[in-house]
């Protein structure tokens, strides 16, 4: 079972890939290869996000309305690990 840090790193890698390909697609909107790459990584990123959220709590407000409001429950991303 991957730990929270590994799940986060996987999510960060896939998200970063999308950040980069997004900028490319902005100026190359008809590049079919780049488009299909984006869609492939997007699907993987969606899975990684759901897996991470199950372990570590909400990434956005979309998943914050749990039994209670969970936005302020976990460590913030800038906190130094003990």
């Amino acid at each position: 079972m991957p730990d929270r840090r590994q799940l986060l790193l996987r999510l960060q890698e896939l998200s970063f890939t999308l950040d980069d390909v997004q900028l490319y697609l902005d100026t190359h909107p008809r590049d079919a290869e780049a488009l299909s790459y984006f869609r492939r990584v997007q699907a993987l990123r969606g899975e990684a996000a759901r897996e991470y959220e199950r372990e570590a709590g909400p990434l956005t407000r979309e998943t914050a309305a749990d039994e209670e409001w969970s936005w302020g429950r976990e460590a913030w991303p800038w906190e130094r690990e003990a």
Partner: protein, 177 residues
């Protein structure tokens, strides 16, 4: 409109606090070539961009610069956490500490507060793009200057794995042919 995603773009894990290094890295936040200026540069300029595709690019780059600003701020926050007063008093960070303690406040390393005059928004797409092209290598150079001062070297976001600026520049110049 922006929606906050509760993660950094790249992990920040500072092993050892350093007031000295924080005093240098703060320029990446509020200095003339820092991420605050970068984000406001792109996000302000996009309104004058007549080409919708490039206006989208400016929006996306400006958004990513805000993510960079958050990483730099996290680095500063972690570098200054748990410092003793003795460590601070004997470092160049002492002058900042007197006004802000360890709060994150945008300023250049030499103490010049962040100023909007550090970027331009001219209402002319080509003038603005020319400024963007100059700003990107300036940021990279500041980062390299910081790396030379880091004790034991730096890995990760401050190193080569950060955004591949050259590739972004090629994308942009490719559009402007």
């Amino acid at each position: 409109m922006w929606i906050y995603e509760r993660k950094l773009q790249y992990p920040v894990r500072i092993a050892r606090p350093s007031a000295r290094l924080a005093q240098l890295i703060i320029s990446q936040f509020g200095g003339p070539d820092g991420e605050l200026a970068a984000s406001q540069r792109y996000l302000s300029q996009r309104y004058a961009m007549p080409d919708r595709a490039v206006a989208g690019l400016l929006t996306d780059i400006g958004t990513e610069e805000m993510a960079h600003m958050e990483m730099v701020s996290a680095i500063l926050h972690q570098l200054t956490a748990d410092l003793s007063l003795e460590e601070i008093a004997g470092s160049p960070f002492a002058a900042y500490f007197v006004d802000h303690t360890t709060g994150i406040w945008p300023t250049a390393a030499a103490g010049v507060p962040f100023q909007a005059t550090e970027f331009q928004s001219k209402g002319d797409a080509l003038t603005d793009l020319a400024e963007d092209m100059a700003a990107e290598p300036a940021t990279a150079q500041t980062r390299q200057n910081d790396m030379k001062k880091a004790p034991g070297g730096c890995r990760g976001p401050i190193g080569s794995q950060w955004v591949d600026l050259r590739r972004h520049l090629l994308v942009r110049s490719g559009y402007c042919r």
